[in-house]
């Protein structure tokens, strides 16, 4: 005789919870939505308002200043190719989403990471949550984002922030925990308060690691904003998405290559920032 176990209605529970959140906190979500949308539009307009060539010069200059001439030349070549392929505007839209998502993620991640480094209990609570955030297939975040924030860029940012935040938290925690015990002891021995210890010893010492985490966050954010085209985010992702729907591999690869160029540029730039800090 087979005993029948009822199926656990896990999906129903989650949906119920999400519905409840959507209806109860619609004021909050709508406020967040409006603020974020304004931010996106503002940054987008600002970047678009600049003549294309001047933005190119600015980015090249930034590369030169932070890294070296080689990166600057590479940046000019890559961006010129994007411009030539008529992908300049989608590229700007993608850049905007990445910048804003990264900013939000870092603003949340830094304090959480610091707190987790200093409190063993918080550390133990937060690590499984981070595992969950990172291993849950990224697409899944897109679904609840829509009832919260509607179709469009704000939902994309929401999903991107959740997906890209974990490395920034992890690296911040790791960086602070890696500060040699004797340096913390030295700060204690001279009578430093917790705040002084954090600001004068732990944070400066962990900065290279924190920067590595932020670099990771930027990379994850970029990959996610592209996927977020599925829920209506603008940018290079929507070019790829359109190419898939129309079965035009050429267009798809063009947009894809633009993403790669942007990714490499952002990666090299943040890495050189980190190396500069180190030396």
């Amino acid at each position: 005789m087979a005993i029948e176990f009822p199926r656990v209605p896990l999906g129903d529970w989650i949906e119920g919870g999400l519905n409840w959140l959507t209806s109860e906190y619609s004021i909050v979500t709508r406020a967040i939505s409006r603020v974020t949308q304004t931010g996106i539009d503002g940054l987008n307009d600002a970047l678009m308002w600049l003549p294309d060539w001047s933005l190119l010069v600015i980015i090249a200059g930034l590369c030169w200043w932070l890294a070296n001439v080689r990166l600057a030349i590479g940046a000019v070549a890559g961006l010129a190719l994007i411009w030539n392929l008529d992908l300049w505007d989608p590229m700007i839209e993608t850049l905007t989403l990445v910048v804003i998502a990264t900013l939000v993620a870092v603003v949340i991640a830094l304090p959480v990471g610091i707190a987790a480094a200093l409190s063993e209990r918080l550390y133990k609570t937060i690590m499984p949550v981070l595992d969950f955030m990172q291993t849950m297939p990224a697409f899944v975040y897109l679904i609840p984002a829509i009832p919260f924030f509607g179709i469009g860029s704000v939902s994309a940012i929401f999903a991107t922030v959740i997906f890209s935040m974990p490395p920034a938290i992890r690296f911040t925690t790791l960086g602070i925990r890696q500060v040699p015990v004797e340096l913390v002891e030295a700060a204690d021995a001279y009578g430093a308060t917790r705040g002084q210890k954090l600001l004068k010893v732990q944070l400066p010492m962990s900065l290279p690691t924190v920067m590595a985490g932020i670099n990771q966050t930027i990379m994850l954010a970029l990959s996610m904003v592209v996927i977020a085209a599925m829920i209506g985010a603008d940018g290079l992702g929507s070019e790829v998405w359109r190419a898939i729907q129309r079965l035009r591999p050429g267009d798809g690869f063009e947009a894809g290559i633009a993403v790669v160029i942007l990714a490499m540029l952002l990666d090299r730039l943040t890495q050189s920032l980190r190396k500069q800090r180190k030396s």
Partner: protein, 400 residues
């Protein structure tokens, strides 16, 4: 001698248990169990047990023990980097274990500067910024701390290196920065945790000498931790010897060498070059006879004959040493009809103070055949050291 000096830190019944049931461990300790048995029965490590000692104002106290003896725990209990389980640590009337968090910070800032074994310099700060650290924590204004730090760096001979980073300096120089950081802070006690152990032997010797010099000049109360007996003996005013978390002996280097408290200490001091530690005083004998400056050669000869001496020291009214006359010179003076011993006395002899290391006396015997005179600061004759006595003393110290 040291009993009438001011006590700076008083440590009483200090114990430290590592583990979550300290009470249980201490109960067993009170029943007479030792560290390994307590660890077996309760899983608790008895780090320190019933430690009692004083640190006097201005002295350099060395806490010495092998690894696992609890010396690092002990120095960290003093400023509560490690929480003591029980006992008192009183500094200027404040009992450190009972201080609240804020008072503790204040106490650390006012009383303790610390120098670490592996330097513990902040790699992202320049030498100057490292030296300023303690002052910065206290909120001293930038101009003043810059000046104080510059002064401290000058004291340790690092002028001109202010803007370098620690990784650009050698080990010895890095530890000088560590020392400057401690000196700039101007706390009342200097804690040095194996401060020179990571340095190579030559630099280490230099640093020891410099520390002694600084300590002599500034009279800063210093607690110095080391596992190296030679280091302890050569720099310590007094030594606290630890073994398995307990005090085995407290005393001056000379006391440790000449009156070891038990077999452990005796075995410990076997390998030490005692001639560097023992002083002239330990080999000094009473003078058998002397002559006054007003005596004649005849008296001198008679006294030498009576006490079977080859030479005799000449003193003035205040018993101050003014010269020496030997038997040949005395008989010649007698023949020539000289009236005073002072007419024929010689200055060709060696004199030392009581604290002169025995080690330095060997060379003197090589240059000069007369007994070495031991005098005090006023040149008053205290006694003499003869060649055989030095060897006797060393031989005996070796047996002890």
């Amino acid at each position: 001698m040291s009993d009438n000096r001011n006590v700076k830190i008083r440590v009483r019944q200090l114990s430290k248990v590592f583990g979550n049931q300290p009470k249980k461990a201490l109960e067993l300790r009170d029943q007479g169990l030792k560290r390994p048995e307590i660890l077996d029965k309760t899983g608790q490590t008895l780090g320190l047990s019933d430690i009692n000692f004083d640190v006097y104002e201005g002295e350099l106290l060395v806490i010495m023990g092998l690894s696992g003896s609890g010396k690092s725990t002990l120095i960290r209990c003093l400023n509560r980097l490690i929480e003591p389980t029980e006992g008192e640590i009183v500094i200027d009337g404040e009992n450190i274990p009972s201080l609240k968090e804020k008072e503790l910070l204040e106490c650390r800032r006012r009383h303790f500067s610390m120098v670490f074994q592996n330097f513990a310099l902040f790699p992202n700060r320049t030498v100057r910024q490292n030296a300023e650290f303690g002052l910065e924590i206290r909120g001293v204004d930038p101009a003043e701390r810059r000046e104080t730090a510059a002064n401290a760096l000058k004291q340790v001979g690092l002028e001109g290196w202010e803007d370098a980073y620690p990784n650009q300096l050698s080990g010895g120089m890095q530890q000088r920065v560590g020392l400057a950081r401690a000196l700039a802070n101007d706390a009342s006690v200097l804690l040095m945790d194996e401060a020179f152990s990571a340095l190579d032997p030559l630099i280490r010797g230099d640093m020891q000498q410099e520390l002694l010099e600084l300590q002599h000049r500034m009279k800063k109360t210093t607690v110095f931790i080391t596992h190296d007996l030679d280091e302890a003996l050569s720099i310590g005013d007094r030594i606290v010897l630890l073994k398995d978390g307990e005090v085995v002996q407290i005393g001056t280097p000379e006391e440790i060498l000449t009156k070891p408290a038990d077999d452990y200490v005796r075995r410990f001091i076997e390998g030490v070059d005692k001639s560097r530690i023992l002083s002239a005083e330990s080999a000094m004998r009473k003078v058998r006879s002397t002559v006054r400056d007003t005596d004649g050669p005849r008296t001198a000869l008679r006294k030498m004959r009576d006490h079977s001496l080859d030479s005799i020291y000449i003193l003035d009214r205040e018993r101050r040493l003014i010269g020496l006359i030997d038997a040949d010179a005395a008989s010649q003076a007698l023949e020539e009809g000289k009236e005073r011993v002072t007419d024929v006395m010689t200055q060709d002899f060696r004199k030392v103070v009581r604290a002169e290391p025995l080690h330095n006396l060997f060379a003197m015997f090589h240059e000069n055949r007369f007994p070495i005179a031991v005098v005090d600061d006023n040149q008053v004759l205290q006694g003499v050291v003869v060649k055989g006595a030095v060897l006797d003393e060393l031989a005996q110290a070796g047996e002890r």
